[in-house]
Symmetry: C2
Subunit: 306 residues, 2 copies
DNA sequence: CGAGGGTATGCGCATCCGGCATAACGGCAA
DNA sequence: TTGCCGTTATGCCGGATGCGCATACCCTCG
């Protein structure tokens, strides 16, 4: 094996070589590098062995790079530079000094809390660069897992993944039922879950809104029945269309009551236990100052809304 | 001091971390890296200390990257990749397997030898990528010194620098004198140097054609006089203009005889010792196969021309 | 509450790498 | 030529680094 050493320690020798070539002298470079000349001289020999060619022309007045030496400088100096700056950036990030904050949220669900919280954040930490990503709950969880998000505002869907990240419950909303305008239920001011027994439920694709169907099932259990999902469609808007065309019902978080959808009426559920938790998830490990600030702001907003 | 280790050995730990994250397990990564699990586990701790933040979430089923871990992967994986490929390229180059050949030459001087030599090279090593740079002798030497050229075809000017590089004499041309058409000398078939004693010489700027004036002086010494440079101009074409306008003379390599310049006549010098050497210079250190091939081709062409 | 997967820790030893002293080498001046 | 002064290279030793081995710890599942 020609190179007995590791690739990493080789980088140290390459750094040393860059200094030697800059100084044009092993002696002067050794001074700059705070080591002795023999040590540096041996490093250069080792590097030449590892690469398999001479890097320096030794002359009585100092050293000069060979063609290979020049090529090494040209290839390695920028790489070493990027490596160092990347390292510095990671160190800053480790100290929680990252100024970028990538937030995932579902606009319709999070708007009422996120907007005021962001206003607070801007006041306390105006230099933070925000990257807002309007995305589905599934995409939020995937984004967190892939390290592409620092923080996600997510509903009941995120409870499943709460173990993987730090989490805090922001508030719990009441639940409502979506029915067609023509449905008898539509006229009621509120409804008990058990009244839905036997109705056709409209489910939603697990891939897009993970756990939503299981949540509905869990909600109905205390009411004494298991919902039958007549159709499972992809996407919330399609669910509402199906509610109309199939005369089905579906359970939704309370913020849908503010929504307008042609032909659909939202009726609040009266059961005490039927709640929709809204939580914030953020990466484990030391959170950046910006992350902590936004989480705090969200908690305050949630407390005020309650 | 937070990081007691070197930046280079840190790269080894970063490499290890990349493997750990890919495998999702310190155990499996240790197998891949051919070290034991405790060793790798300690490397990860060391890296976390050096960066000042947690990189991995330890779970009973293995490990997962934290936000910082993800950021490190994103920043470092491409860098480590470039570093390795750059290293591989340098190793290839050290073994003389580089396929690019950067040649510096002065078209008017080198054309007669370079063209056939390149034809030979193309035959013996057709995969070699040539970069031809038509440049002044000074630029050629600077290019060699800066490692931007592999090989230079240069005249007498290069002899000064021959110690710094490998060199081979290709041929020696006779010398000619440039005089105005109206000059008495212009009618002669040839001329002895001593006949130029007392004439005004036209010199050329040292920065562009280094050593040319010194060469003329050295040439005249055996003839028993020291040329007086009435004017020193920059650039060969300006020299010829001055020859006409100032009725000066200048010494030039023989290949100028083939040139046409209005108002200037070139008269061969008869002195045996007055020769113009044409040499090839190439980088010290192990020369690439392509370099050696071109040098050989040039030598053959030179021998054939003689 | 043991078994079995994972990660962390204590300890001893080889290896590496730097410092010190000194050799070897080349140019320059007397 | 010889001696001097600059350079780089080499011999040797000691300290720190980092590995392997054995084992401790921790969590989950049956």
């Amino acid at each position: 094996m020609p190179d007995a050493h590791t690739l990493g320690s080789m980088m140290d020798r390459i750094r040393a070589l860059l200094t030697v070539i800059e100084e044009g002298s092993v002696n002067r470079a050794a001074v700059r590098l705070r080591i002795t000349q023999p040590a540096l001289s041996r490093q250069m020999q080792a590097l030449e062995n590892e690469l398999g060619g001479k890097l320096l022309e030794r002359e009585t007045s100092g050293v000069k790079p060979t063609g290979l030496g020049h090529a090494l400088v040209k290839a390695m100096r920028p790489l070493v530079g990027s490596y160092d700056t990347a390292l510095a950036e990671l160190r800053r990030q480790a100290r929680g000094e990252r100024s970028e904050l990538r937030v995932g949220y579902l606009l319709s669900a999070a708007q009422s809390m996120l907007t005021p919280a962001l206003a607070k954040l801007r006041k306390s930490q105006p230099e933070v660069k925000l990257k807002l990503h309007d995305m589905s709950p599934r995409e939020q969880i995937d984004g967190l897992r892939a390290g592409e998000l620092d923080l996600a505002l997510i509903g009941q869907e995120g409870v499943m993944a709460a173990r993987e990240f730090h989490s805090a419950k922001l508030c719990s909303l009441r639940v409502c039922v979506a029915v067609a305008d023509s449905d008898l239920i539509a006229a009621q001011k509120s409804i008990a879950l058990k009244e839905l027994k036997g109705r056709d439920f409209i489910g939603v694709d697990e891939a897009q809104v993970p756990g939503r169907n299981r949540w509905m099932t869990a909600l109905c259990k205390p009411a004494g029945f298991k919902p039958r999902f007549a159709v499972v469609v992809d996407g919330i808007t399609n669910v509402l269309s199906q509610v109309v065309s199939e005369s089905g019902v579906t359970l939704l978080p309370g913020y849908f009551e503010k929504l307008q959808h042609p032909g659909v009426t939202f009726v609040p559920v009266s059961d005490e236990k039927a709640r929709w938790d809204f939580i914030v998830l953020w990466q484990k490990g030391r959170a950046s100052a910006a992350t902590r600030a936004l989480v705090d702001a969200l908690k305050q907003v949630a407390a005020a809304l309650r």
